[in-house]
């Protein structure tokens, strides 16, 4: 059930996908959830390489679970400490080696920005970006959009708030690019100036006429939001630790913050969380983040099925 144009396609950035293509991914993910038997063991002749050169729990785990569901063989390499990368081997050579192992697809996570695009140039195999540096995490954005679609019924007309580390968080940029393909989307970027959204993301939104605002104050931005996407603020981003201590409390999402919003306000988080999202939110109707994480499997199963022709 390979979708048109998806067979052997690279998945490098959400910028590369039209709305129609995203809709096809979501429809396939929905079908995976409703008819799992239709996908089980449909790709038993395929070999998927999971090359994870940075830590990962959810992305690795859900790709692995997806590949298992589809019956793929898995070539796993998730510990850079035991690879020749530590001996100074280039990514180019690593990709060439994996290619020679009769692989059908490479899923790559690497701390260097643009690594997946380079890998896709090195090999004719389809490359799926499992997170490249602080720039892009396209499959996370796809499952984020799928979550919004399931919880809200549509992605169009969503009023979306991003709070936290928007400068170095790769989920914020990938999801912002993807949202630009939908109608009448409004985005609020809420962060201290040092962690505000990068200029290239703003330029992308401006070029596509997407309405967005930037602010430093969380509570004032809550009213009117449909979805609040929370990311962690990392202490090490601040040149002066006292700056971090001063502002960290201003970006904690708890029930008192959510009380300022609409009843249906959904809270998303790519996880893991630390202090920025209070556990008291877990038991409220605002908490979408656990189902968001669970959506990783149907969305990534859909992607593998579309790319590998299941």
């Amino acid at each position: 059930m390979a979708g048109q144009g998806f067979l052997n396609r690279d998945i490098l950035s959400t910028k590369d996908f039209s709305r129609a293509e995203l809709d096809l991914i979501f429809n396939t993910a929905k079908d995976v959830e409703e008819n799992p038997g239709r996908y089980r063991n449909t790709l038993t002749d395929k070999r998927v390489a999971l090359l994870f050169l940075e830590p990962s729990t959810r992305t690795y785990g859900s790709f692995e679970a997806s590949a298992v569901n589809l019956g793929c063989k898995i070539l796993s390499n998730r510990n850079p400490a035991v690879t020749s990368i530590t001996k100074g081997e280039t990514l180019h050579d690593t990709i060439k080696m994996i290619e020679s192992y009769d692989t059908d697809c490479i899923i790559l996570r690497d701390r260097r920005m643009g690594s997946s695009r380079f890998a896709a140039e090195v090999t004719d195999l389809p490359v799926i970006n499992g997170g490249s540096g602080s720039r892009e995490h396209p499959t996370q954005a796809m499952l984020d959009l799928y979550t919004i679609l399931k919880e809200r019924g549509e992605i169009d007309r969503v009023s979306m708030g991003f709070v936290g580390d928007l400068r170095y968080g790769r989920t914020c940029s990938s999801l912002s690019y993807a949202l630009a393909g939908f109608d009448d989307v409004e985005i609020s970027f809420i962060a201290p100036p040092i962690l505000q959204v990068r200029r290239e993301v703003e330029i992308y939104l401006e070029q596509r006429g997407v309405s967005y605002t930037k602010s430093t104050e969380l509570r004032g931005a809550i009213p009117g939001l449909d979805v609040l996407y929370v990311t962690r603020i990392q202490k090490e981003r601040f040149p002066d630790p006292t700056d971090y201590e001063r502002i960290k409390g201003s970006y904690v999402v708890d029930n008192s913050v959510l009380a300022l919003g609409e009843e249906g306000l959904g809270v998303m988080h790519p996880l893991p969380r630390v202090d920025e999202l209070s556990p008291e939110v877990d038991s409220t109707g605002h908490a979408w983040y656990f189902s968001q994480a669970a959506n990783g499997v149907p969305v990534r199963t859909a992607l593998l099925s579309l790319v590998l022709g299941g």
């Binding site: 280039t90 990514l91 260097r112 643009g114 490249s132 290239e200």
Partner: protein, 158 residues
């Protein structure tokens, strides 16, 4: 006057004028002059810090018997908008009107240190898309922006 004393006119070739003072080396790097040096009848003079009516001081580069290709001319003008390029044929100058290129390939380093193009030993070049409306280049690998005015800092060295 000082300029004329230092160098005579050329019969055929390219004159790159109004280069910011002491930036001629950067311009030569952009032109990949190593490739030109193997040409037998090629000669070159680079004047540094000569008087300029417009800019106070400037550099001038004269490429004798070498017609700078227009892609390289466009790149030099993108990095140094004040530069003028004249093609000389039979002593007659013809001013080149630069175009804004769509892509800049090689020559410029990505400003993002964690970009894959800055990884040691990776066999990869740089490729930037030009965003004229935003006066910036954008790395095609990592999306980082580089403002036109900062480009001289990122010209690749030899």
């Amino acid at each position: 006057m000082e300029n004329q004393l230092l160098v005579r006119k050329i019969e055929n070739g390219t004159v790159i004028d109004h280069v910011p003072a002491w930036h001629s080396e950067m311009v030569l790097r952009l032109l990949d002059v190593e490739k030109i040096r193997v040409m037998a009848d090629f000669s070159m003079v680079s004047l540094n810090n000569v008087p300029s009516r417009k800019h106070g001081r400037k550099d001038v580069i004269k490429l004798n018997n070498y017609h700078l290709d227009e892609g390289n001319a466009d790149l030099v003008c993108l990095v140094y908008p004040a530069v003028t390029i004249n093609y000389i044929e039979d002593w007659e100058p013809r001013k080149y009107r630069p175009k804004i290129p769509e892509l800049v390939v090689g020559r410029i380093r990505c400003p993002e240190v964690n970009c894959i193009t800055n990884s040691p030993r990776e066999p990869i070049g740089t490729r930037f898309r030009v965003l004229p409306g935003f006066k910036a280049l954008q790395c095609e690998y990592c999306d980082s922006l580089l403002d036109f005015e900062k480009m001289p800092e990122y010209v690749k060295g030899k």
